[in-house]
């Protein structure tokens, strides 16, 4: 260990333990939060233990002062005193694992190069995913094995909307996955499914960011990433309401966006009705039994027409409200109610079902239909590397329907394929809406299933929410990588953030946009991480040029 680089010595006025210790800083030296340090301790048996750690607190005080007001006397040159600085270090690693405390007086130096990799366990990461930078622009890595399912999977991101930059960090992680080469030859077949829940931020992923400056370009280079936009992206948006040709309902982007909807035939054949009901699986609700009976009945009796419409008992149906009316008629007709709702279902229960069904009609009418020619053009496929599904214009109930149906399809496809690779990454913000802690719903079931079995199925959830305390525990618990942006103080104190040491909890309340706290299984202490300004456009004004991609409907695009 180079003694010239010693920044200070372990101090003996506070306890030094294998978990944490304080370092008194030598004159003209400084340490800042998140600096990485290392030291050596000789054991009586002749062995050497190397101790690595992260600076989590730094303090300065007057030695020789006894009263707060002594500072004035000291500054006026009346009372002699010295300024002493000390840094608290939380140990990250012992090599070999002999858990002894460092001894007071031992030299501590800043860890650089190999020492830094050792301290942060980067040396043992066979596949390192660039996950951001330190304040002095040194790259930080996550272990891909904890993301791709080999040893763990899933990412969970918490933070206040607007300040925490959750979605941007999620897209940065995807960018890093695709660009860093960490996936090797698989990168080309690895797919991502992103839901755009707010604004039209994600509709420009395929365009270079005009506002990217040289400093940020360099930051990408330091992580070994070629800056730029996502190469292969398909954009899907909900259709405009009451638009006969189902044009996509987006304001800022004119080309390259396709509208999506489901045909009535699919709706009946695939049993999508439960996704209309947000609380369908709530056991306290009697009418859920009606849903399942109606689903079975629809699958049975609906015959598809060419443009996605259906006929039931000879009646042609091309609109969702017509289907809803037909279902309501059958349920209210005493001769058919037992057949559609099941036996011994009370009138009150049937009415509850009908009331909810009609409540959804207005919001889903444009998403489930049979009145547009060539409906297969509007069926979401995941040909491109990144598939963006825009749901920001939709009502909450419609959002749940779209997310639920698309996730189910993705999940079913992966399950059917039976192979883990290539991986599918799913980015979903507002998890608290889809998998709330209380209650049960079809989407929540899928998300929980995904978090539990996705690791082996090769479907990786990058979920985000304002407050992890409002999200189903199992989903958060199954995430190997936990990321925290700015939190409000009350939230930061909750048990869900138990993986953050006290200092990090305090820091989470003052994090700036672009800074996250990243916790990964191998590191006992989370890392404070900065990520560069996006090199892809996040709004129309940043988009550099018309994307070079051709017809977004061309299924052979990108295969050259």
């Amino acid at each position: 260990m180079d003694e010239d680089h010693a920044v200070g010595r372990v101090l003996g006025t506070d306890d030094a333990t294998p978990l944490s210790f304080w370092v008194a800083l030598a004159p003209e030296q400084y340490l800042q939060l998140d600096d990485v340090v290392a030291l050596e301790r000789q054991l009586p048996d002749g062995n050497t233990v190397r101790i690595y750690g992260l600076v989590t607190q730094v303090r300065a005080r007057h030695e020789g002062a006894r009263f707060d007001s002594d500072v004035f006397l000291i500054e006026e040159g009346i009372l002699p005193a010295e300024v002493s600085q000390a840094a608290e270090v939380l140990a990250t690693r012992f090599e070999p694992e002999v858990f002894v405390p460092p001894l007071p007086g031992q030299r501590v130096h800043k860890a650089e190069g190999h020492d830094r990799d050792m301290a942060l366990y980067f040396d043992g990461m066979a596949k390192r995913l660039p996950a951001g930078l330190t304040r002095d622009d040194e790259p930080l890595y996550a272990n891909l094995e904890f993301l791709d399912g080999s040893r763990g999977a899933h990412v969970n991101i918490s933070g206040i909307s607007g300040v925490a930059t959750k979605t941007t960090y999620a897209t940065f992680l995807l960018f890093s996955l695709f660009r860093s080469g960490v996936l090797g030859g698989e990168a080309i077949n690895t797919k991502a499914l992103i839901y755009n829940v707010k604004g039209e931020d994600l509709l420009f992923l395929d365009r270079d960011n005009r506002d990217l400056d040289d400093a940020n370009r360099e930051r990408y280079e330091r992580m070994g990433l070629a800056h730029g936009a996502f190469e292969s992206v398909d954009f899907w948006a909900s259709p405009r309401r009451d638009d006969i040709v189902a044009a996509p309902d987006v304001a800022s982007r004119q080309t390259g966006v396709t509208s999506y909807f489901w045909t009535l035939a699919e709706f009946c054949a695939d049993g999508l009705l439960p996704f209309v009901f947000a609380d369908a699986e709530d056991d306290r609700q009697q009418y859920t039994i009606v849903i399942h009976n109606v689903v079975a009945k629809l699958r049975d009796v609906a015959a598809p027409l060419t443009d996605g419409g259906i006929t039931i008992d000879g009646q042609t149906i091309t609109e969702f409200d017509a289907l809803a009316r037909l279902i309501a008629d059958r349920l209210q007709d005493e001769t058919t109610v037992a057949e559609w709702a099941g036996r011994a279902i009370g009138q009150g229960t049937v009415n509850a079902f009908i009331r909810r069904l009609f409540g959804a009609v207005a919001h889903l009418k444009h998403l489930v239909r049979g009145d547009v020619p060539n409906p297969e053009r509007h069926r979401i496929h995941r040909q491109a590397q990144v598939t963006v599904v825009d749901i920001h214009n939709l009502n909450d109930r419609a959002k749940r329907f779209v997310v639920g149906v698309t996730l189910r399809r993705a999940f079913d496809e992966k399950e059917r394929a039976g192979v883990q690779r290539p991986l599918l990454f799913v980015v979903l913000d507002e998890l608290n809406k889809y998998a709330p802690r209380e209650g049960s719903s079809p989407i929540k079931e899928i998300l929980v299933d995904m978090s539990e079995r996705g690791r082996s199925l090769g479907i990786i959830l990058i979920g985000a929410q304002q407050t992890a305390s409002e999200v189903e525990r199992r989903i958060v618990a199954n995430s190997s990588l936990r990321v925290v942006g700015r939190l409000d103080a009350a939230e930061a104190g909750r048990d869900e953030y138990g993986f953050l040491p006290t200092v990090h909890r305090q820091r989470a309340t003052i994090l700036k946009p672009g800074t996250m706290i990243l916790s990964q299984p191998e590191l006992p202490i989370p890392l404070v991480t900065q990520f560069p300004f996006p090199s892809w456009a996040t709004r129309a004004s940043e988009a550099a040029s018309i994307p070079s991609t051709g017809d977004p409907d061309d299924p052979f695009e990108g295969l050259g």
């Binding site: 020789g64 006894r66 009263f67 007001s69 002594d70 006397l73 000291i74 006026e76 040159g77 009346i78 009372l79 002699p80 005193a81 010295e82």
Partner: protein
């Protein structure tokens, strides 16, 4: 006149800053006419002369680490004393900083004691003329005085004014140095001169007087800031060498009257306020710290004596 009570600002453990011991140093010869005739004595307001750009304060501390019995098999058992002592200086210019600290450890005993090494450091032997704790203590005080002189000598040209804690005895040769006495065992002045001391306002001094006990020096009183609970509160006495001319001594008196009041301590911060100046209090704390933890030193002595 009704009885008037003033509570002394010093912590009772430190005694009283102005104590008269009748009968002590009876053969004092005072000449109060050296600066101005005693009949015209009045408080002197310091002039607007140059102020000291840099001051140095010198002080020492002593601590008895252990009493011991020395037995070399030939003579009767002798009483000895292990003591640690330290001297140092505070430089007060733009910033006050502790400088030139010297720490010594000594074994004081009658006869010719031998060096004694412990885990906490080596004790130098100092032979004392005869038996008895008073002689041991006096020998320690003498050594400490010598150490202070050593420290002061190193600073001689580094400061415009050197303030030595305690009487100037033995240090008269140091340039621009004054002795600083916090406690008044004897009131050397009487009559009009004594009334002038009582009449001093904060920052004012008496005229110079010369007095002789076992040695001769110039002296004057100065009142520091602080609450005037009685007529002698906040009064300190300063000394300058007799070898200097009256003009040189007046210059030192002027310089110190301008410089010292700002260093006076506040009662809530120092049990001996205001006389115990901030730099000296800070220096004493630092010196005591450098003596080492007393229990550790005692343990080291016991271990080495085994």
């Amino acid at each position: 006149m009704a009885q008037r009570v003033a509570i002394e600002t010093w912590d009772p453990e430190y005694g009283v800053p102005s104590t008269e011991h009748p009968g002590e140093e009876t053969d004092v010869v005072v000449d109060a006419d050296v600066e101005i005739p005693v009949a015209r004595w009045a408080p002197v307001v310091p002039g607007q002369g140059a102020s000291a750009a840099s001051l140095a304060f010198i002080d020492g501390v002593r601590r008895i680490d252990a009493n011991a019995w020395l037995d070399d098999g030939t003579a009767p058992v002798r009483q000895g004393m292990f003591a640690s002592f330290a001297a140092g200086a505070v430089h007060a210019a733009d910033h006050a900083r502790v400088d030139a600290i010297e720490v010594r450890r000594g074994l004081f005993a009658p006869g010719r004691p031998e060096p004694f090494t412990t885990k906490a450091g080596a004790y130098q032997p100092f032979g004392v003329a005869g038996p008895g704790p008073e002689l041991l203590s006096a020998a320690l005080q003498e050594r400490l005085g010598a150490l202070e002189i050593e420290v002061a000598g190193r600073l001689a040209n580094g400061a415009d004014l050197i303030v030595v804690d305690g009487p100037l005895y033995g240090r008269q040769h140091l340039p621009h140095t004054v002795g600083y006495i916090k406690t008044h065992r004897v009131h050397y002045l009487s009559g009009e001169a004594a009334r002038t001391v009582a009449a001093l306002a904060p920052g004012e001094r008496t005229p110079l007087y010369r007095f002789r006990t076992s040695w001769t020096r110039h002296s004057w009183y100065l009142r520091l800031a602080g609450p005037m609970v009685h007529s002698w509160s906040g009064i300190v006495r300063l000394e300058a060498p007799a070898e200097l001319s009256v003009d040189q001594c007046v210059a030192l008196a002027e310089l110190s009257s301008r410089a010292l009041p700002r260093f006076a301590s506040a009662p809530h911060k120092d049990p001996r306020a205001p006389q115990n100046l901030y730099p000296i209090a800070g220096l004493e704390r630092e010196l005591r710290r450098r003596l080492g933890d007393p229990r550790y030193v005692e343990r080291a002595l016991r271990a080495a004596a085994r």
